[in-house]
């Protein structure tokens, strides 16, 4: 038998949404729902294997070809993206990148050097590079909103869904067209060529279910 198609899912919400999509498409996902501590799980009748991983690791596994496919947020792709195929916008996990700062401050004008705190240093640098602006980036791992409140940075670049966390902390969105985000189906470059039929079949099913969900 052919070895199973291996798909890496970003643990957490994207995993749940993807599993729902796959179940709607007719795959038996009991093994994932009752996973315990296992990290590699068969779905359907064993023709697909699900691997659960952290977002950035999904990209690493797919890029190195140990997983054929992956489901990961566009935010992670923009931050870590390198060489793989991005074959489907899954439509869920929607949010956006936004630039936010303390209400009432106008840090974009003036001649002082600007400091931005973010979990996404590459996205931030690219965004300001596009504006022709020279900035200092500080990488923060946890709640980025703290940085401007503590005076560490002038503003933040982060993903925003509703904006309520920002509001509660006295931050306002300065620009939210940095980039729209949603979950993407990515494929290893060699796998897509070597296992075209299987991958396209799965991607087509997922695309049809996505259309129904919207």
């Amino acid at each position: 038998m052919m070895k199973p198609l291996r798909i890496a899912l970003t643990k957490g919400r994207l995993e749940k949404d993807t599993i729902k999509l796959l179940e709607n498409a007719g795959y038996d996902c009991t093994a994932v729902r009752e996973k315990g501590r296992k990290l590699i799980l068969p779905i359907g009748s064993g023709e697909i294997e699900v691997v659960l991983a952290k977002a950035a690791d999904v990209i690493t596994y797919v890029e190195n070809g140990v997983c054929d496919l992956g489901v990961v947020g566009k935010d992670t792709i923009m931050e870590n993206g390198r060489s793989f195929y991005e074959i489907l916008d899954l439509g869920f996990g929607k949010c956006r990148f936004a630039l936010a700062g303390k209400a009432g401050t106008d840090f974009l004008s003036g001649y002082n050097a600007i400091t931005i705190a973010t979990k996404y240093p590459n996205v931030t640098r690219n965004f300001f590079e596009g504006k022709g602006m020279d900035i200092r980036v500080i990488k923060i791992e946890g709640s980025v909103e703290l940085a401007p409140l503590l005076g560490l940075s002038d503003a933040i670049v982060d993903i925003v869904e509703t904006g309520s966390t920002l509001k509660e902390n006295g931050l306002v969105i300065i620009e939210d067209n940095v980039a729209p985000i949603s979950a993407r189906l990515i494929a290893n470059t060699a796998s897509l060529k070597l296992r075209k039929t299987e991958i396209e079949e799965l991607a087509d099913k997922m695309e049809k279910e996505r259309a129904k969900m919207q």
Partner: protein
């Protein structure tokens, strides 16, 4: 200060025994294929002037190259690619050579890869360049050499054909500037369907736009060409499809069957590819093991215009696939340990040499006593021990 004397730099490694053997085996199998087909081996310098690889010619981003300066402060790079040095060599030292020039190389190339992804910054690459010949015969010669090279290593490879001219012909018809065009090309290369769609949505919906929209999906068997033919009526684009069909049909005669695939979305960043492009894939490697194509305009950059086509193979990737499959023949191990009695050291060395001439693997013992030599032979699994003195006495070590 931290001492780095005991670790290798990120992206490099020592190759020991089996891995080293696998690497050398693949290089030698491929070198043999090339040499038998009339290609001549060359080596180019490990360091070159940066100018040779400037991004406008090479398509290699500056940050991917290892750079340093020479004693005059000029910018140098550690060779990131072999085709450009060969183009330089052809346009200078081989300026007056008769065409076609058939060359092959087997040397390491160096590129920085984003850290901690497990990729090597140092890759053994082997490949050929056929310079000064254009047309279908030259293309077939190089692609069939690629096919033969891969089939000598991993019989289940796939060869994928594309044409750089197809996208170029269509992209010319798009009302976009160079930057937007490059962005669109990037989306096709990464098969990013959704981003490509949104980039094209803002344009007037012409036929070219519609074909480009489908480009990332235009890969598979010969039916891809039929599909593409039905989509467009641009004569330049159609000519590239017709040419691909001819090449495909010719190559089918090699009995490649489903291992021959077509990808019209094969639009590499290497802008120097002008015509047919191709890649090779094998199960077990997450990236193409072979990349090649025709680059008729590259030699213009060196004021020595000539058509050219070639490919490069990632020897490390191929070696690792073959090793994992157990397809690397084991090297012969030592059969005889030769030990000398005191005063007969040179005789023993001479005897070891005669063994080697008879293609018997013999190791000259460097121990003082016979007991130590015997213990060593047993530990190493060497079957025979020859003691060289007045006479030569050979005993079984019992392993």
């Amino acid at each position: 200060m931290k001492n780095y004397s005991k670790i290798t730099p990120v992206g490099t490694k020592d190759l020991l025994f089996e891995e080293c053997l696998a690497n050398r085996t693949v290089s030698s199998i491929l070198g043999n294929v090339f040499a038998h087909r009339g290609f001549h081996e060359v080596l180019t310098p490990g360091i070159e002037f940066y100018d040779l690889f400037s991004e406008s010619i090479s398509g290699i981003p500056m940050e991917y190259m290892f750079k340093m300066s020479d004693s005059k402060g000029r910018l140098m790079v550690v060779r990131p690619d072999s085709t450009l040095p060969i183009a330089r060599m052809v346009s200078t030292r081989l300026k007056n050579a008769e065409h076609p020039i058939r060359l092959y190389y087997n040397q390491r190339v160096y590129r920085y890869n984003p850290g901690l992804t497990g990729r090597s910054n140092e890759v053994m690459q082997t490949g050929i360049e056929l310079i000064g010949a254009k047309g279908k015969r030259a293309d077939l010669e190089v692609v069939t050499t690629a096919v033969e090279a891969l089939s000598k290593c991993v019989p289940d490879f796939r060869i994928e054909l594309g044409h750089a001219g197809f996208f170029k012909a269509l992209a010319q018809k798009l009302p976009v500037n160079r930057e937007e065009r490059e962005e669109i090309r990037g989306f096709i290369e990464s098969k990013n369907y959704s981003a490509l769609n949104s980039a094209l949505d803002s344009l007037e919906q012409t036929q070219a736009v519609n074909v480009i929209r489908k480009l990332p999906r235009l890969f598979g068997g010969i039916e891809v060409l039929d599909e593409a033919c039905n989509l467009c009526d641009d004569s330049d684009a159609l000519a590239t499809l017709e040419y691909l069909r001819e090449i495909y049909n010719d190559l089918s005669k090699l009995g490649l069957g489903e291992r021959l695939i077509i990808d019209l979305g094969l639009v590499q960043r290497n802008d120097y590819y002008s015509n047919i492009v191709f890649s090779g894939y094998v199960e077990g490697s997450g990236e193409p093991v072979l990349i090649g194509g025709r680059y008729d305009n590259l030699l213009d950059s060196f004021d020595a215009p000539a058509p050219a086509i070639g490919f490069g193979i990632n020897v490390d990737a191929l070696a690792s696939v073959m090793m994992n499959r157990g397809n690397i023949p084991q090297g012969k191990s030592v059969e005889v340990l030769v030990h000398s009695q005191k005063g007969y050291e040179i005789e023993a060395i001479k005897y070891t040499n005669t063994l080697s001439e008879a293609n018997i693997f013999g190791e000259n013992s460097v121990f003082e006593t016979e007991e130590e030599a015997l213990a060593y032979a047993k530990a190493k699994g060497i079957k025979k021990l020859s003691i060289v003195g007045e006479n030569i006495k050979t005993i079984d070590t019992g392993v």
